[in-house]
């Protein structure tokens, strides 16, 4: 048993729903009890879908358990096929049905349904949402494309001269992070090299579209969490190379274009030409003197593997931040994230324990958190600015405007959204100079963000009334008890003199915990029992910023 307050990923059948809901002409019959239909509202409310997810639930009840639950599966499959007439039918089970061992996939395959019936075996008690999405997408691609496979060992025909290279964009799904906008941006990027997008999948694809996948010259794996296994199979089976770079940030976009050019057999010069024509404003915005105040800002990054690794690079190389923490909940992306951490001087971690992530953020005392909706709440609680960079998402992460993460425009969006939560340069200076100003103290929110002042250490008790918008909208009720203050104190911590304690309060609140710990460590190392003003400044000089 694992004690869990909040989860970063749902169960694997929710991953399958994300794939089914992304596609056209696909239906998913899910052997599941009453209540599992909650997952519909993830799509209809968070992403404001105007259609129900294409999912039929068998809705078995306790009184069915001694009887014919398999009969319920057959009836649901038959009714769903008759009503929706999909071009492919996914059949699987949720966690409870898995225990019944009705084998709904095999049952459905034996029913003579005249379209491909794809059984999904998604182990609920060991796997999670992204794995379920990847497995579902892979099974769909394999089932629909395997009949088209050439004989093993046969060479792929070269592209006809005079025709544009064609690429599939694989991986974007419903409930991803800005998938819709990223498809638009990446399509534009490829067009700037003269590469055509052949099929986008799962988002917007039909089973017939999946059958056309092998006709492309190569695949672009935009979300390895979802598409890597399908890309690998297409490479093995049809000899289609995979472009692996995910173009989030200016550097990664350049690398992506270079990789596309190489894979598509284009002259390398097209990359520089494309950037000259389009390009991002991020490099200039970052170099403009106004951005000086971003230098060395302490940033903590957490998210799915793709977005966390990409954000680490952008934070360090393109914003001039200092990376003080990097983690992911995507175990399957652990290698990539650890490599990204090593490149930027931090030891990356893999965890899906929300409380563990909170502890790590508190200990790292960052000035900015780049995370998921969960980290946004952690940051709010700790009084640290935050920008959301990854799923799991909430309703405000599915904006009406075009807001990609990928490509040149995506880099512009990253610059804006990461800088937005921060104090502006002069504001921060004034705050440090006149710390005791009653209207403009360190508990005040940045002036451009509005809202009442709040301090991390002063938590209002939660109002007891129910909130009507708790279901989909953001509500700002915090738990009454504040988190334990940073790390546990050592056995014999040095004491603070009154002057030193007073001076410590003048240190900006977001690094005060760090300053306190650094000073105490410094004092302890030197056998100092009473921290004076001098000790504080000696420690400051020793540790630097």
């Amino acid at each position: 048993m694992q004690l869990t307050l909040w989860t970063y990923e749902g169960p694997p059948h929710v991953g399958a729903m994300r794939v089914a809901t992304s596609m056209r002409d696909v239906h998913y019959v899910l052997h599941a009890p009453q209540g599992d239909t909650y997952a519909d509202l993830l799509f209809t409310m968070i992403e404001r879908h105007d259609r129900r997810p294409p999912v039929t639930y068998t809705t078995f009840q306790a009184r069915d358990l001694g009887g014919d639950t398999a009969g319920l599966v057959r009836a649901a499959v038959r009714d769903a096929y008759e009503r929706f007439r999909p071009a492919a039918l996914l059949v699987g089970e949720s966690c409870t049905a898995e225990l019944l061992q009705d084998q709904p996939g095999a049952l459905a395959q034996g029913m003579g349904i005249p379209v491909p019936v794809i059984p999904l075996e998604l182990p609920s008690y060991s796997k999670k949402e992204n794995w379920g999405a990847a497995e579902t997408f892979y099974q769909l691609v394999r089932t629909l494309c395997a009949p088209l496979a050439p004989a093993p060992g046969s060479a792929r025909l070269p592209r006809a001269t005079g025709t544009a290279p064609k690429a599939n964009l694989l991986g974007p799904t419903a409930l991803g992070f800005r998938g819709r906008d990223d498809v638009h941006e990446v399509t534009r990027l490829l067009a700037s090299l003269g590469v055509e997008v052949h099929v986008v999948a799962p988002l917007g694809a039909s089973p017939d579209d999946l059958r056309r996948l092998p006709d492309a010259d190569f695949n672009v794996c935009l979300h390895p969490e979802v598409a890597r296994s399908a890309c690998d199979w297409l490479r093995r089976t049809f000899g289609q190379p995979t472009v692996q770079t995910v173009p989030i940030g200016v550097g990664a976009t350049r690398d992506f274009l270079a990789e596309v050019a190489r894979v598509a057999g284009l002259d390398a010069s097209v990359v520089a030409d494309a950037e000259r024509r389009e390009g991002s404003r991020l490099p200039w915005y970052s170099r403009s003197v106004d951005s000086t105040y971003l230098t060395g800002k302490r940033v903590f990054v957490f998210g799915d593997g793709t977005h966390a690794a990409a954000a680490a690079r952008v934070a360090v190389e393109e914003m001039g931040f200092a990376l003080v923490g990097l983690g992911t909940y995507s175990r399957e992306m652990a290698r990539e994230v650890r490599e990204a951490g090593a490149r930027h001087g931090v030891e990356a971690f893999v965890s899906d324990d929300y409380l563990d992530v909170e502890r790590r953020i508190a200990a790292a005392a960052p000035e900015l958190v780049l995370g998921t909706q969960m980290e946004r709440h952690i940051a709010k609680r700790l009084g640290i600015p935050c920008a959301v960079i990854s799923a799991p998402i909430h309703v405000q992460d599915a904006p009406a405007r075009h807001s990609p993460q990928m490509g040149w425009e995506g880099a512009n969006v990253l610059f804006d959204t990461w800088v937005h939560p921060l104090m502006m340069g002069l504001e921060e200076h004034l705050l440090q100079m006149f710390r005791d100003d009653f209207e403009f103290h360190d508990g005040a929110a940045p002036s451009h963000l509005g809202g009442p002042a709040r301090r991390a250490t002063v938590e209002a008790p939660a109002p007891p009334e129910f909130d009507a918008h708790a279901v989909v909208a953001e509500v700002s009720i915090d738990e009454e008890d504040a988190p334990a203050d940073d790390a546990p104190a050592p056995a014999q911590p040095p004491r603070w003199s009154t002057e030193a304690e007073g001076e410590l309060r003048k240190v900006p609140f977001f690094v005060r915990g760090k300053a306190r710990r650094n000073t105490e460590t410094y004092a302890a190392d030197r056998g100092i029992v009473l921290i004076s003003l001098d000790t504080l400044y000696e420690a400051k000089a020793h540790h630097g910023r």
């Binding site: 169960p11 966690c95 409870t96 009334e465 909130d467 279901v471 009720i477």
Partner: protein, 419 residues
């Protein structure tokens, strides 16, 4: 307004896909109401995901609920589930020393593998009492629907209620979670009526359990607590029949029934309630104009559908196309049922067929869950999310206007928008 039908309405019983939450969802409000209680779901990742999705991602930084997620090794018998549960509970209580009641909440998987949470609760209680009382109930989807989870929770509390002395004077017990503001209003009205002592179940703190005995008169504030009522009857309490306190009429009849059960003189009842009825009428009047004559379709969701349909028909003049309810507990909603007009009353659900009926009827307003609302709006129907009716103070005289407004707002919004 059509007269109430004298013969019982026929019931359309449906069996198929249900688009409703399971009973675990009740934890979303119960854990706020019971301020010293913690709810530990013993279930799967799906249960944890449901709770956080229904609650909105992360309303509370550290909520008073959590999930003990069953894993492969628990199912394969490699780990003893009870040992594991002991470990998790120890971990949890160490984190939350402020907790005085811990509910182990059963789920679909824990029910299917027949994990005996009642026994676990007894075992753990023996260790943690008197500091922490450990109880259990099932919120599983195979046994409970949405608000039924609260019923199961409260029913689990009933055996824990202290026994009132046999000769105790009559007291009133109001059952079903109400918003604190409503509870306070109700307490004031009961005081004016001279009805007392009055207790509420659930109480705001799990350690403040009201006593129950033959002198206890039970008044239901919510239509989904039928099992709790029956458990209270087994402890000698007597139920008070009344419609639910929704709207001016419902609230008046509800308070009047309580007063009658405690033998409050009719003149006192009129003197106290009449001004409140007038105020409620005044509050709801602006919305009646917008809602009267409009056609309403209610999908099953919270069990509030029958009392709501009664109120919307009789007090706001709406015409009721269909009232869906997850299950029909005739005893609990008898008074409201008797006041319903001729309509389609459906129990259970086959969501596709019900959607077919709804589309064919093209009602002016459709009350439905979150999974259906946006798709129906996209088809041109105007909808009201039913879950808001559970998460909003709607009961009583002084909420009659707010309740009417909830139904008028989607129609008003549609009229405003020109895009």
């Amino acid at each position: 307004m059509t007269a109430a039908v004298s013969v019982p309405l026929p019931v359309l019983r449906e069996r198929g896909q249900r688009e409703v939450f399971c009973g675990l969802t009740g934890i979303v409000w119960l854990h706020r109401k019971l301020q010293d209680a913690f709810f530990l779901v013993v279930g799967s990742r799906t249960c944890a995901h449901l709770l956080q999705s229904a609650a909105g991602v992360m309303i509370f930084a550290e909520p008073r609920f959590a999930t003990a997620i069953l894993q492969d090794r628990d199912l394969a018998g490699m780990a003893d589930c009870h040992d594991e549960l002991d470990r998790v509970v120890t971990e949890l209580l160490a984190r939350r020393p402020d907790i005085t009641a811990l509910f182990l909440v059963g789920s679909c998987p824990s029910e299917v593998i027949k994990l005996d949470l009642r026994r676990a609760a007894e075992r753990l209680s023996a260790r943690t009492m008197p500091a922490v009382r450990v109880l259990s109930y099932s919120g599983s989807g195979i046994e409970t629907t949405f608000t039924q989870g609260e019923d199961a929770c409260l029913a689990a509390l009933v055996p824990e209620l202290p026994a009132a002395p046999a000769d105790a004077p009559p007291s009133l017990l109001v059952v079903g979670t109400l918003a604190d503001v409503v509870e306070d209003q109700f307490a004031r009205v009961f005081a004016q009526l001279g009805v007392g002592p009055v207790h509420f179940l659930p109480p705001r703190r799990a350690r403040d359990l009201p006593a129950v005995g033959p002198g206890t008169r039970v008044l239901l504030a919510q239509p989904f607590v039928g099992d709790t009522l029956r458990a209270l009857e087994r402890r000698g309490a007597t139920p008070i029949a009344a419609p639910f306190p929704l709207g001016a009429e419902g609230s008046r009849d509800w308070f009047a029934a309580a007063a009658a059960a405690i033998a409050v003189p009719a003149t006192t009842v009129d003197a106290v309630l009449a001004p409140l009825v007038v105020r409620a009428h005044r509050a709801r009047a602006p919305y009646r104009a917008r809602l009267a004559g409009r056609r309403l379709f209610l999908f099953p969701d919270s069990q509030l559908e029958v009392p709501l349909a009664r109120m919307l028909h009789r007090e706001l003049g709406m015409s009721i196309v269909e009232v869906g309810t997850p299950y029909l507990d005739r005893g609990t909603v008898a008074a409201d049922l008797a006041l319903l007009p001729e309509t389609v009353l459906s129990e259970g659900q086959d969501v596709e067929r019900q959607l077919d009926r709804c589309r064919a009827e093209r009602p002016d307003l459709t009350v439905c869950g979150l999974g259906l609302a946006n798709p129906l709006e996209a088809e041109g129907l105007t909808t009201k999310w039913s879950i808001e009716l559970v998460f909003t103070p709607i009961q009583g005289f002084d909420q009659a206007g707010d309740l009417a407004e909830l139904f008028a707002r989607p129609l008003a919004r549609r009229e405003r928008l020109t895009v």
